[in-house]
Amino acid sequence: MKRYFQYLKEYKLQCILGPLFKWIEAALELLVPLVMAAIIDTGVANRDVSYVLWGGAVMLLMGAVGFGCALFCQRSASIASQGFGTNLRNAVFRHINTLSYRELDKLGSASLVNRTINDINQMQSGVAMIIRLVVRSPFIAVGSVILCLLIDWQIGLIVAVCSVLVGLVLWLIMHKTVPYYSQNQKKLDRLAQITGENLEGARVVRAFSNREQERERFDIAARDMLDNSIRIGKISAWINPLTYAVVNFGVAIILFLSGWKVNNAVLSDGEIIALINYMTQILNAMIVISNLVSLFTKANASMKRVSALLDTSSSMDEGGREKFDFAEPAIELRDVSFSYAGTQQYSLRDVTLTVPRGATVGVIGGTGSGKTTLINLLPRLYDASKGSVRIFGHDVRTYPVRELRFLFGVVPQNASLFSGTIRSNLRWGNDRATDEEYEDALKTACAYDFVQEKGGLDQPVGEGGKNFSGGQRQRLTIARALVGKPKILILDDSCSALDFQTDAAVRSNIAALEGVTTVLISQRASSIKGADIIFVLEDGKVVGQGKHAQLYDGCPLYREICDSQARAEE
């Protein structure tokens, strides 16, 4: 918890003054019934109208001062908690940006988004409530009990017992309903799932004329949810009646005893009214406290998740200070093995290969054969588990990692664009490029024509690039990689949505670039046929390397792939 204080540091004043003012309001509020008691016991008893009027004025003044204090506190709490949230969010987002692929894989993007948005919001309202209510409610509850004890210790004890009982009721009911609430969420998820399936699979449901069966599925799930909700409802419907009953039976007992006490002149009418008033205040305060407890439980769970994220640090260092030696081979792998989980289950096994500068390399293999894993090691997105990955003469770990990555232009599989404009997306490759350079990159990627057609570089790009077709997206991401004038260009199955003609045109444009080492990953044998070297991967191992003709004769797997596709493509 301590680590979070730094995000509140600039709001120290608000954190101290806010609760203080709230406390003043609460103290004034507690005194009101005593003033009222004095009005009745002294003013009315002595028939002193001016005393009564003064008493009224004091109560109004206390109300006004209390209101002013409360406003100040709410304002402080809003500023401090929102500021806390803002600082923490910035810190968490920055932290996420220091993580490497390995941690991103482990945490998953959905959970990262959740922590940045929902968990921090939860913590933020936790802070607000600490400032606003943590001082107030317990103070009112405890203060009321103490004042009752001061008025009459025996009746005060009854009040104390009632408060404990109310607390017990609240705790019990919350405790009982918690498991049902999480079940309820699951049952609701199930309804959402079935609905989603019927939207996504609408054609399949109709093709099988399975309307009735789907309705039955939904009905069962809905019935299930209904039963659970009613169960929760039955339990939580006890809260209000039970607390009401406890407090008011307490009042009844107090009245009953008061008769004796008034008769023996140890208690007055005004004091009875004050006691009853305190009972009501205690009830209200206890209900607020029970809400606070559930809020803090949630905020605490959120805090744990955020702490876990902040405790996760990048497994990758910043690298050394080595300089590139461009005369050396562009890529060299020496006995490289790699496993995602850090176990013996290797996704790449003892890979050794060399790619000379300026060459075009093809990588082919089935899904899960390790193609993407292989290229992920080159810009140091992951570190090899064993062996050495060398780029331009030195191990990748000896270069500053940012400079190393600037060397590469990568077009990932399932290319994604970001909302903004075409220009803002291309900027990612190089933010100092001129329009001409952007256009050259677009031309090389065969994207210039459709970009022009749409209206040029400043045309908007929707979230994920949804306003472009799959093929257009792929070409734009190729252009994005080219804008940085990379020394090594990596295309990971990046032309799969292009027709054969465009695919070929893009490849020949890229081949014409000078001094660029190109790595092509493809499922299509025809796309890599012309490469200078082809590597065939199977189960994380290189099972063949060489030119097309050599491999076709010497590598059975390569031959099989070519033959199976040749039936389609001749």
């Binding site: 959402a192 019927n198 899904t367």
Partner: protein, 591 residues
């Protein structure tokens, strides 16, 4: 929202409430009882206090009677409040269930056009979230409103009965609290909607950037992404703390208004106590019954709770507005017209002759797609559909499956116009395997038996074997009983094999198949090819073709471009024609 529409919605919602009229009556009765007993309580203990006049003057029998009565009131209020809660819950949850069920039923019957033209997330939100909002706002809201208004009225009634001058003071001060509540609600609403906007912007940035974090790292874009985030976050701070502040005003303001009313009532009551003389209160010409400390205690206890219902009422109003908006959205789904299931012609045994005669179709009137299409397909033919991406191959499937209806012309099966065949019966004649293979989050066996609920385990396994999926199903943790959640890794190709097994089990007389284009590993792809071959034997089949072998085998090739069929014939005929197909073939297949 227009009033007529609101009225209409209310009528429709009442229609949903009708089966549960018992709960409604229960809610009304129990909440009336609850309000009555809760308010009667202070009156009784006020009398008890008045019976304690002073030392040695306490009227014990009255105290006992009144305290006893108070105890009974509390007990009855306790019981009626609990029963009221049960009634409201039972009503709400049942209504939620019924609304959801009807919305879902409407979805399962709706036309494909509706599903294609509406965002899935939005439709789902209507079925799942909006229904909750309707119940929260309308039912809980209405019951809260009812209790709140009853409490206010009854409180005023009792106060007027005891002493109308003090009651009048309370009534005069009431608008103060209403005014405060309205002011806060308005400011809160405004600043909240501003906050929601910026929050949405922040969330969108986070989702997009963290979703693409690997690309961010790849391009060294971390710093820019953080800066953009901090910029939005700073904006959120400015708007957010104000929104928070306004919403946090409600409680202190209520307390303040309460304090004012409490002070006025207290002072006036005390003065009246002083002025009362022997059971009479004389104020100039006015003569009222005497005022006592007990009565004052009743007023004070009311004054303490009095503004609470006002706050609740103003909350309920906003809630109800949301609820009406959501109800309109839910009813839009429920009202969506379904497919036409009628038809009287039963085919019995299908041969599989299909003719498309003079068919015209387009999705929207501005853009013409298919015009005057004629195709004649004898039973048992293999029809290959080819064309560049986006040429409208799915349109043809849509028409064959009657997902969309022709604008003119007709399609016949074995000489019968398909529109005369009951839709459910018609669609069962086709087996369909699409590229985006849809499987539900249920067990493997459930998915294979989809559409054939009565299939035995042996039949399911036989179909799986025939479709070459037995080997990978057996490798799953629970075999055929594995639930296909996101955690179970089934590749795209394997999913398609499962879909083939599903069709094999259904054993339909005609087929519609979609060959995979990419991202399927070679071995699986060969299995899919073999499985396709196996099921096509002897059946009229349509296949969206990407493989040369499929085209060469076909009895008829439909060449599509820009939405319509531009050439048809066998491979040899089409090559001879040297038209679009010839060029397509040379660029796509003959490399």
């Amino acid at each position: 929202m227009k009033n007529g529409l609101k009225k209409n919605l209310t009528v429709r919602l009442l229609h949903y409430v009708r089966p549960y009229a018992g709960f409604v009556v229960g809610t009304v009765i129990f909440s009336l009882l609850y309000v009555a007993f809760v308010l009667l309580g202070p009156v009784l203990y006020g009398k008890a206090i008045d019976a304690m006049i002073g030392p040695e003057q306490v009227d014990f029998p009255t105290v006992y009677r009144m305290v006893g009565g108070f105890g009974i009131c509390v007990l009855l209020a306790f019981v009626s409040q609990k029963l009221m809660g049960n009634c409201v819950n039972s009503l709400c949850y049942r209504l939620i269930r019924d609304l959801r069920r009807d919305a879902f039923e409407s979805l399962t019957a709706s036309r494909i056009r509706y599903i294609d033209s509406h965002a899935q997330g939005d439709v789902m939100a209507r079925v799942v979230n909006d229904v909750d909002i309707v119940s929260d706002g309308l039912l809980q809201g209405v019951s809260q409103l009812f209790t709140g208004v009853m409490t206010i009225l009854a409180t005023l009634g009792v106060m007027f009965f005891i002493n109308y001058i003090v009651a009048l003071v309370v009534v005069v001060l009431t608008p103060l609290s209403l005014f405060v509540a309205a002011f806060i609600t308005k400011r809160t609403f405004k600043s909240f909607s501003r906050q929601v906007k910026v929050q949405g912007k922040l969330a969108a940035h986070v989702k997009e950037m963290i979703g693409g974090q690997k690309t961010v790292i790849l391009f060294n874009e971390e710093e820019n992404s953080c800066k953009k985030f901090e910029e939005i976050d700073a904006h959120l701070y400015q708007i957010g703390w104000r929104a928070q502040y306004f919403s946090a005003l409600t409680n202190p303001s209520t307390r303040f208004v309460n304090a004012v009313i409490y002070a006025f009532v207290g002072v006036l009551g005390a003065v009246f106590c002083i002025l009362s003389n022997g059971g009479e209160l004389v104020l100039g010409a006015l003569v009222l019954s005497g005022f006592t400390p007990g009565m004052l205690s009743v007023f004070l206890s009311y004054a303490n709770q009095y503004t609470k219902p006002f706050n609740e009422v103003s909350n309920v109003v906003t809630q109800m507005q949301n609820a009406f908006a959501s109800a309109a959205r839910v009813f839009e789904v429920i009202d969506e017209p379904g497919e036409d299931l009628s038809g009287t012609q039963h085919i019995g045994k299908v041969r599989g002759d299909i003719r498309i005669e003079n068919a015209t179709f387009s999705y929207s009137p501005e853009q013409k797609l298919i015009e005057g299409l004629n195709v004649d397909i004898p039973a048992g033919s293999k029809v290959a559909i080819v064309g560049p991406t986006g040429c409208g191959k799915t349109t043809l499937i849509n028409l064959l499956m009657r997902f969309y209806d022709l604008q003119s012309g007709r399609i016949t099966v074995d000489g019968i116009d398909v529109r005369d065949i009951p839709l459910d019966e018609y669609r069962k004649m086709f087996g369909m395997v699409l590229q985006e293979s849809f499987l539900a989050e249920e067990t493997v066996a459930w998915n294979i038996a989809y559409g054939n609920e009565r299939a035995s385990r042996e039949q399911i396994e036989a179909a799986a074997k025939a479709a070459y999926c037995d080997y990978f199903i057996r490798n799953m943790e629970h075999g055929y009983d594995t639930v296909l959640t996101g955690n179970v890794s089934v590749s795209q190709g394997e999913r398609q094999l499962l879909c083939i097994a599903r069709v094999m089990l259904a054993d339909p007389p005609m087929l519609i198949l979609d060959e995979a284009t990419s991202n399927i590993d070679t071995m699986t792809e060969m299995r899919i090819q073999k499985a396709f071959h196996k099921i096509m034997r002897g059946r009229t089949s349509f296949i969206v073709a990407h493989r040369l072998s499929t085209i060469l085998d076909a009895d008829l090739i439909l060449v599509m471009n820009q939405g319509s069929v531009i050439e048809q014939g066998t491979h040899a005929q089409l090559m001879d024609r040297r038209g679009f197909y010839y060029r397509l073939y040379n660029s796509q297949f003959a490399k």
